[in-house]
Each structure stands twice: as C-alpha cells, then as structure tokens.
Symmetry: C2
Subunit: 379 residues, 2 copies
C-alpha cells in the first residue's frame, strides 16, 4: 500500500512492540532455567530460556518489584509498548519501582518457543513445541524472580493474556503478590475460542505452513496476516471502525464501486477499512512468527484458573493479593459484564477484588491504545 | 467429523436451503430477460436468467402477490428455508397469497452468476462476472413480475441482504409496493465491510481459487469453508455460543488440553465450538460456489440506498409503501440500534415506517433460526 496517512497507520499500533515513544530498559537479557521445566501436560521442556527486560533499580529491601505481563503479540520491552504507564505520576515510577517484564514461553521475542532448538534433539521445535500453559509460564517466571532475589511483588499487572498471567500469579504464588491489576480478561468465551480457532485455520491453510515445518525464508505470510486481521476485528470495536473508516473508499484511491479495479468483477476496489486491515496484516508478518502465534493461541485457549481445583472457592481463596479488575466498555472479546462478573465471583471467595470500567471506543485494545485513560482509572 | 449430535448439527441450519420441513413450490422455473440488463456500473449482462419459485395462486385481480427476497446463501425455495412464515395464521397463507421468491443474480442456485456461460463469449464468467448491485437485482426482478402480470405487491419482505432488496424495491418501484418488511438490516458498517473483506481474502488465499479460474472438480474448498466460518461468527451471538458450546471439549472426544492429539503441540484437540464451526464449513462447501459467494459479498458491500440521490430525503420520500423494520436484540452485524436509527431516518422523510425488535439470543441469524418468534412479532 503506497498511500497511508498517520491515522490509518496508527490505528492499530497498540499492541505492537515498535513505538516512537521508547523507554530504554535498564537491562535486557536472558535467564536460563537450570533444570527441566515440568509442564502441566506432563511433558518437560529442557534448557528453558526466559528473555526479560528490567526498568529502574531493585532497592536494598527488595520490596519495590513490579511484574508486567505482556499480551499476545507483546515482548519483554514494556517501556516500548506501554510507555505511558511510566509517565510522571502514572502507575509506575522509574525512581521508585523495579519493573520486570518477561517474554512468554512460546513467543518469538527471545524466550523459548517453537523457533528455538530443542537441546535434546538438536532440531528446531517447530510444530512439536508443547503446550505451555499460563500456569507453566508463571512457574518458569518464578524461577527468574527467585534468581533476582525478588520474594515480594508490589504489583503484578497485565491486560488480555497478560491479565491471565497476573491472576494465575495471585493464585499460584499467593505469598509473593501484594496486588494484581487484571485488565480486559475473563475466562475465554466460546466466541473467543471460535475466533482463535479460525485464526489457527487461516495459518494452517497457508500452503507455506507445511504442517509447521516451514522454511524461515518462506513462512506462511498470507495465513499469518489473515489470522492477525481476524484477531484485530475482535480487538477493536465496530464504533471505532465506523468513526475512523466508515464506508469510505480506500484512501489510496481504489474504487469499491468501480469496474475490475483489481483482479476482476468479483473483487473490486477496497474500502478504507479493508486497506487498513491489509496494512495491519502486512506489518504483523514482518514482526511475528506463525508457529509462535499458534503456540500462544493454545496457551490462551486452555487458560482455566480452576483447573486442578475442586471448586472456585478452593482456587480463589488461595489469593492474598488485592485485585483490581478493569473492564473496557466497548470490548466484545472480553465484554465488561463478563470481567465484572468474574471479579465478583472471585470476591465471593473472600478475596479483596474491585472492578473498574474504562470508557473507550477502542475495544479490547483500549488498554494499549488509550493508555492515558487507563492510567487515570488506575490512579 | 464422525460424532455429531442433533444440536451441533442444527445450530447453524438457519440459512441453509436444505431443511426437513419442506414446503413444495407450486412452480419452479426460469425467466430469461429478452434484452440485455444494463447494470449500474455501466456494463451490460446478456441473456440474464432468473430462477424463481412460486407458492399459491395469483388471484384474478392479481392483487395477492408477495415477494420474498432471500439472504446471502439462500435460494428461490423460500418454502424450504422459511417454512414457518407459511404456518397457519402466520405471515403468509397459501390459500390467499401468491408468493414469489427469485434467486439473486450472482448466486449459484439457478440465476445467472459467475458459474454461468457468458453468451457473448461462450465462456464461463468466472472472475469476470460483473458487480450486480441490489438495485440491478430489483430491476431484473421487476421484468419477471411484469411478465407475470404482477403490477402490485401486497408485501415485499426479506432479512439481511434480502432486506436490502426489499427497501430498494420500495424506493425504486414505489407504485408497485404496498408494504415492506425489512429485517436485520441497516447500511453495512465498517465492521461489516471488514468481515466481508476477510471472508474474501480467505477464498483468494486458497491456492485452488486460481484467481477465480478454478476447475469445477477442484474448487477452493478450504478457503470457502473458512469464509463461511468467519461469516458465521457474525451471524450468531456470543451468548448463544456460550450456552450451546461453552468451553466444552469437542463432543467427538478430542482433548484441547491433551498432548499432540492432532498434528503436534501447536494445534491440539478442538473445543466443541471449533468442531461445530468446522462442521458448518464442511456442509457449506458442498452446497455453495466460491465465486458466487464473492459476487454476493460485493453486492452486499456496495449497497447504498442513497447512491445517485442528492439527499436521504430525496431517496426516501419516493417510498409509498408502509415499512416495518425488525431489529434483533443480539445481532452484532446489524445491531438493533442501527436498524432502529435507520428506520427513524427513513420515517423523517415522511415515510410510514415502524420499528419492532425481536428478542433472541441467535444473533443476526434469528430471522431464520427463530422463525416462530419472528412470526409472532409480525402478526
């Protein structure tokens, strides 16, 4: 796409690591677990590497640590994708907090994932990369915090799949977590599972996917782009799309009503929303890996905080942290009512859990797209 | 999929022509226009065939005709896909009404479409089939009604793209239409355009699509199935999916948490909603053609009742019919507020237009999935 104005480009940048307002980490590096990670599934993962970034300094009392958990396509560089959280007077302070963010297992931003070499076979995992649950991530991350001498977390926070991690932290390491902020999350609904399933199929249908054994120089680009585009429909809102794009023809001059603009009478010129989605798809395939996307979809799908407990009360009564849930008014992937009901279910187990609602037209993405609004709500 | 219970099979049958409760037409046949159809785009279509079905008998006064306009994947056999509309005391009566339903141009159920032979070249249209607008359909259908001697329509009714036709009938042939019932329709939003765009891409990505020049024995099955599945997410509702499928594993016994059930650790066993969607995709590719699907998506995308008029007042003040708009409470493709606002905009032009709302968890599909409820609302 040749002509792209700022608003068309920016509308979807929310969840992308690259950002103009960049906050450099104090340190960015790898932590390698010294023992195999036993996964919930029963499989083990050897030589697990966690790529992480820290901002600020751990104080002498080691009581100023904050863990930020990233969303599906995020990275450890929280200063790049969530910079306004660090603004003066906002949620986090580089003068007082020691902020750590850890790339999820299965991702493609430095931690062990499908693109890593399995030390036990010498081959890239590819499609054989196992299911790593949210809980498995929490257990691996705890080893990294142990190595840093962090026994208490002043705060754990995250949105979307990051919020799933934040809650699992509060359940599975209750003594370590003082407070958790869980944004735009409830148990993934059947519609959420459906959206993930179709994204998965879009990738699997790409002939270049090759059952997951694709060549690095020839990844399933079309399939990953379409998967991302399907996801974007659920991250944004109909109202935002109407306001930004309406029924306008694509701003590059294509004519949706015209004759045979592109590939015959069945296709036609694009509307502006279509040009936007195509651009978002193209940007995504340059920065993300298809197998990593599949791995994280499965991590998201299988999240069930009650798994292994006999009841909600048994699971949630473990929590010692104060919890804040944030729903987003226009979120249809995790509707605000679902987030609120989830918060109240947890409160019913005797947990200190409040619910706040962010008013935004940005849909699920609002926690990334309207950071100032989120900061206001959390202050 | 081997194990499929009635509820998994039936949940999506709404918009499918095959049905168990079958009402046979009085007559089913073809009408061939005796002159070229000049399309809004400026192109002409030669030898246009309209496949249609009629139910009941035209009375001597020729004043008992009703036109039913079908939705995207429907056919002329309204007695098969909308049987409850004909129930005793419902909306239509075979004793009193002469009901006609005409397959849309671009479809694959008998009228001229991408699978037809262009009489001017002797070749199948394929991807060169031109954009046929809703208004073009109305103009072609009017010639068929002329040939049957039908100068008045007691009622025109339709849902979704059928509702678009019903409204265009009232605008463009105002003296012929007494009443129109327009269900689940407003101008297609940016989200609607987005959903159609991704369905289009799913088909175009299929290597068997071959730019639209696919072989009849090797159509782009995977792409069409995925397109249909994306569409289904917008035809149904999150609430219905939660109620029917929740987070249950697929009823055939697959385990979403299990190890490498299907093709490695990145994929896993399906949830029930995924099994349902896959089944719906498989059913659809046996009954619909990919190029026809693309043609109708474009017909839907480009619908703009104001096109060619200087204002909404100029367009809508042409209407002589009494209009009833029906919104569906859980429809997110055409939200009830959008349908209501659209009705009120038309009413502001001096048209007799009322708005009714159908309470249903079935989403956009409710006019097909909960026919008894619709009948109650229209009585």
């Amino acid at each position: 796409m040749s002509i792209m104005t700022e608003s068309q480009t920016r509308a979807g940048t929310g969840s992308s690591p690259p950002a103009t307002s960049f906050l450099a980490p104090t340190y960015e590096g790898d932590f390698v677990l010294d023992e195999h990670l036993l996964l919930e599934s029963g499989r083990t993962l050897a030589g697990v590497t966690l790529h992480y970034a820290v901002y600020g300094r751990l104080n002498a009392a080691r009581d100023n640590a904050v863990l930020v958990c990233h969303a599906l396509s995020g990275s450890a560089l929280v200063g790049s994708w969530w910079p306004e959280i660090f603004a003066p007077g906002a949620v986090l302070s580089l003068n007082h907090d020691f902020v750590i963010c850890i790339n999820m297992l299965g991702s493609c931003y430095g931690s062990t994932g499908p693109g890593s070499v399995d030390p036990e076979t010498g081959n890239i995992y590819g499609p054989d990369f196992p299911l790593v649950s949210i809980r498995d991530n929490v257990r691996a991350q705890a080893r990294l915090l142990d190595s840093l001498g962090i026994r208490r977390l002043r705060l754990v926070l995250g949105g979307s799949i990051g919020g799933m991690q934040a809650l699992d932290w509060a359940i599975h390491d209750p003594e370590r977590v003082e407070r958790a902020v869980i944004i735009g999350v409830a148990p993934l609904s059947a519609m959420g599972l459906a959206l993930n399933h179709l994204q998965r199929k879009a990738i699997q249908h790409d002939p270049d996917w090759a059952g997951g054994h694709y060549l690095s120089q020839r990844p399933p680009r079309q399939g990953l782009a379409l998967a991302r585009q399907i996801g974007m429909l659920s991250y944004k809102s109909a109202g935002l799309f109407d306001e930004r794009f309406g029924r306008n023809p694509n701003r590059n001059g294509e004519d949706p009503w015209g004759l045979d603009d592109l590939g015959g009478g069945l296709i036609g010129g694009r509307f502006d929303i279509a040009g936007y989605l195509d651009h978002q798809g193209e940007r995504f395939i340059d920065r993300f890996d298809a197998n990593a996307y599949l791995a994280l979809l499965r991590t998201m799908d299988t999240w069930d905080p009650l798994r292994g407990f006999s009841s909600a009360a048994e699971a949630f009564s473990r929590i010692r942290a104060r919890l804040s849930f944030v729903g987003i008014s226009s979120d249809w992937l995790f509707p605000p009512e679902a987030v609120r009901d989830f918060a109240y279910t947890i409160r019913a187990a005797g947990v200190h859990a409040d619910y706040r609602e962010m008013t935004s037209a940005h849909g699920h993405d609002a926690f990334l797209a309207e950071q100032a609004e989120l900061v206001r709500l959390l202050q």
